[in-house]
């Protein structure tokens, strides 16, 4: 590191010393296990039997060729679709709600509180709430729908509806998080550009799209990234409680449960049934590559569009 007269630490070894505890923790709990799991992907390993045999790319071959492949490939694309839905709907809806919550109306504080508290729930609780709401026999939504329109949709056994319910639950759970950040960003916006636009006679939509949105782009950039990791990894809790990866999709999506994301598939294959750990590690490695790819694309494509002008 070059000596910088403005740097806090004059010598680099002092900086490294202070970073050491964090680096040790990161290596022990994140990097080392990740490395071990990528290595495990090249072995045939069973948890119950305690066996471990090197088989090279055997697990990866089984993922893309052979009878178990269609299920994996379907989960792969389902995960991408699920993430895009959670991202797209989550961020646009949160932005909309944050703009509404930012207005100076009576009870604005209460509305903000109500919008943010779902984030504090644990995923299991959020999943349970949705399970009861959308229970096709005794859930309150079907009770109302039956009385009003004589409709009784099978929310959790129809694959298309089940996918929508899962996306809705995942979006709802993370709304609070997104709204908090957007609210903070909105409240930090200077009013000058908007007032100038008013003087020029710009419409509401114009004001939003050409002024507010670019000014909010740093927050949007950050939230897209966190929602991406949320939809890939943290949606596990909701899926496990709500659908457990089921139901099977309609042809041609009938090789795996429609709400089985890659993360959930890793869990089912690695810890359920006969615990094929090597196979699950291979799936986990592909998931890691996928997320890394998305993150790289995200930073490259959107990073350049972020507008940091205040």
């Amino acid at each position: 590191m070059q000596a910088n007269s403005h740097a806090v630490f004059k010598k680099s070894w002092a900086a490294w010393l202070y970073l050491l505890p964090t680096i040790i923790i990161l290596i022990t709990f994140i990097f080392y296990p990740a490395l071990k799991s990528v290595i495990l992907a090249f072995y045939r390993s069973n948890f119950f039997l305690g066996t471990r045999k090197f088989i090279g790319f055997g697990n990866f071959r089984n993922l893309f060729k052979g009878p178990l492949a269609p299920g994996f490939i379907q989960c792969f694309f389902q995960t991408i679709l699920f993430s895009l839905c959670v991202l797209g709907i989550g961020i646009s809806f949160s932005l909309f709600l944050a703009i509404q919550a930012n207005k100076r109306i009576r009870g604005a504080r209460i509305y903000r509180l109500l919008l943010i508290w779902p984030f504090a729930l644990s995923p299991a609780v959020a999943g349970t709430i949705f399970t009861f709401l959308f229970n096709s026999e005794i859930g309150i939504i079907n009770e109302v729908l039956e009385k009003l329109f004589n409709l009784k949709p099978m929310w959790l056994s129809n694959p298309n509806l089940a996918f929508c319910v899962t996306v809705t639950a995942a979006v709802w759970k993370n709304l609070g998080y997104n709204i908090v950040f957007y609210l903070a960003a909105l409240q930090n916006l200077s009013s000058e550009p908007l007032e100038a636009a008013d003087i020029d006679g710009a419409s509401g939509w114009r004001k939003f799209w050409n002024i507010m949105f670019p000014l909010l782009s740093p927050t949007t950039f950050f939230l897209i990234f966190t929602n991406l990791t949320y939809s890939f990894f943290d949606s596990f809790g909701i899926i496990d409680v709500l659908t457990k990866g089921a139901p099977m999709g309609n042809v041609p999506f009938d090789n795996a449960g429609i709400t089985t994301t890659l993360m959930y598939k890793v869990f089912i294959d690695g810890f359920g049934g006969s615990s094929n750990m090597g196979f699950a590690a291979a799936e986990g490695t592909i998931l890691m590559i996928l997320v890394a790819g998305f993150s790289y694309l995200h930073f490259e494509v959107f990073g350049k569009k972020v507008n940091y002008d205040v």
């Binding site: 002092a14 010393l17 202070y18 050491l20 505890p21 040790i24 045939r44 390993s45 069973n46 948890f47 119950f48 039997l49 305690g50 066996t51 045999k53 089984n62 052979g66 009878p67 178990l68 299920g71 229970n135 096709s136 026999e137 005794i138 099978m154 929310w155 959790l156 056994s157 129809n158 694959p159 089940a162 659908t243 457990k244 089921a246 139901p247 099977m248 309609n250 042809v251 009938d254 795996a256 449960g257 089912i268 810890f271 359920g272 049934g273 006969s274 094929n276 196979f279």
Partner: protein, 445 residues
């Protein structure tokens, strides 16, 4: 000076973190001849009623002798229990006695951490009901002692049955009987004349056994290790066809989730179905939940048309003894297992839960107590078990991938419910399950 202080405290923090893992000093295990040997028992019953009962049996055992001191612990689900036992064995601290689900028998056997209970001295197994003991006999040796055993039975909403014009004690015998019964009820205007069964591969295994068909090759994995499934057999397709027929007539009702026992129970106890199939272990709970809402009857599992009733496969769990260098601890674990499943304890366990007492002497005791006069519903399940023929089909499938197989079967049935032809779905299922089984067997040289 301040900087050196900072650096030193940094180093101190780093050092304490490096050495922060310590194990408490172990108290030396009892080697004196008069100290009772500690036996640890891990099981999966965490609810107050059942764990409380187990605890009382443990205390009675400890009070009745001074050689052993048993301690029981609930470990959550079957999966958590066996995974915990394996991890503990790897660290050299395995529990003495472990409660393993029936489907995990091959897995438990393959882990190599258990000792077949038949190898610990000799004891009398003639009192256990033969088909039940058969399930837990691998390679001619009794591996574990059956503890909680159950079978599937048919629960009937008698009020709906009578409204449909049937006699109150009518029990449909075959698949077409039950479908026709529901259709007649519908025609008579009975609301909610449905069939509620949780979507579970366990029932599939039962219906295969009723048709004297095996789930796996090599005689259900009993004469040699199973290497393939028989999911595309005509008997298997008949079962898938049953689901297709129910769905065609819009009679099948479930919550949408796999293995949702409670959800399907709720559908029946809330009066939203006429028939329900689930384990006998839930007789007490379902009777209580139904209460006075409607009259309840229990019958034998309906079987596929054209088959002679062969019998059901035992469900539930058994007690496995872990390997140990100390022969006294082995004997203690076995003795406690035999005590927990002795005649009187099995009678009490049955009365408390609904699980079978798998001993002939317990059944005789219950008969002499007149239990079945006031609890006729329980007798149905007993007769179903006692009439089960002893063969490979009713011994149940033994393979490392029974759980995977169940999930694959459940997925296949869901495809059938969505409209796929039963033969197509079952052929697909066979391909998938065989692949999983091949992967598992490749671990074993």
């Amino acid at each position: 000076m301040k900087k050196i202080g900072l650096i030193l405290s940094c180093l101190l923090l780093g050092m304490t973190m490096l050495f922060a893992n310590g194990t408490a000093e172990k108290t030396s295990t009892a080697t004196k001849t008069n100290e009772p040997i500690k036996i640890t028992f891990w099981h999966t019953f965490g609810d107050a009623k059942r764990q409380g009962w187990i605890h009382s049996v443990v205390e009675a055992f400890n009070a009745s002798q001074s050689d052993y001191m048993v301690k029981e612990e609930s470990k959550g689900s079957y999966r958590d229990c066996i995974q915990g036992a394996i991890l503990a064995a790897k660290q050299g601290e395995s529990p003495s006695l472990v409660h393993v689900a029936e489907a995990g028998s091959q897995l438990a056997y393959d882990t190599g951490i258990f000792l077949p209970v038949g190898e610990i001295g000799s004891f009398d197994t003639s009192d256990y009901i033969q088909p039940v003991l058969n399930y837990y006999t691998i390679g001619g040796k009794v591996n574990s002692i059956p503890f909680n055993s159950s079978s599937p039975v048919l629960y009937i909403n008698t009020d709906m049955l009578v409204a449909a014009g049937y006699p109150a004690d009518y029990v449909p015998d075959t698949f077409s009987d039950i479908i026709n019964c529901c259709l007649k009820a519908r025609a008579k205007g009975v609301a909610n004349a449905n069939i509620a069964i949780s979507l579970n591969g366990w029932f599939f295994e039962q219906w295969l056994s009723e048709q004297n068909a095996c789930m796996f090759n090599n005689d259900n994995g009993r004469t040699a290790r199973a290497t393939a499934t028989l999911l595309d057999s005509p008997e298997a397709i008949k079962i898938a066809q049953f689901y297709a027929d129910m769905q065609k007539n819009n009679l099948y009702s479930y919550t949408g989730k796999f293995e949702d026992w409670d959800g399907s129970d709720a559908i029946f106890t809330e009066g939203k179905a006429m028939f329900h199939i689930t384990s006998t272990a839930d007789i007490v709970n379902i009777t209580n939940a139904v209460g006075s809402k409607f009259k309840l009857n229990v019958g034998m599992l309906p079987i596929p048309d054209g088959s002679t009733r062969n019998g059901t496969v035992i469900g539930g769990g058994s007690l496995w003894v872990t390997k140990n260098d100390d022969p006294k601890e082995l004997k203690g674990a076995r003795d406690f297992a035999l005590y927990l499943t002795n005649t009187d304890n099995m009678v009490a366990w049955h009365k408390l839960t609904g699980y079978y007492p798998v001993r002939k002497s317990s059944i005789d005791t219950l008969k002499s107590q007149g239990w079945f006069d006031t609890n006729a519903k329980q007798l149905v399940a007993f007769n179903q078990l006692l009439q089960t023929k002893v063969n490979f089909a009713s011994a149940g499938g033994l393979s490392g991938t029974v759980y995977d197989n169940r999930t694959i079967v459940e997925q296949a049935i869901q495809k059938v419910l969505n409209g796929t032809a039963p033969e197509v779905a079952m052929k697909e299922a066979k391909k998938l399950s065989d692949a999983k089984l091949a992967e598992y067997n490749a671990n074993i040289q």
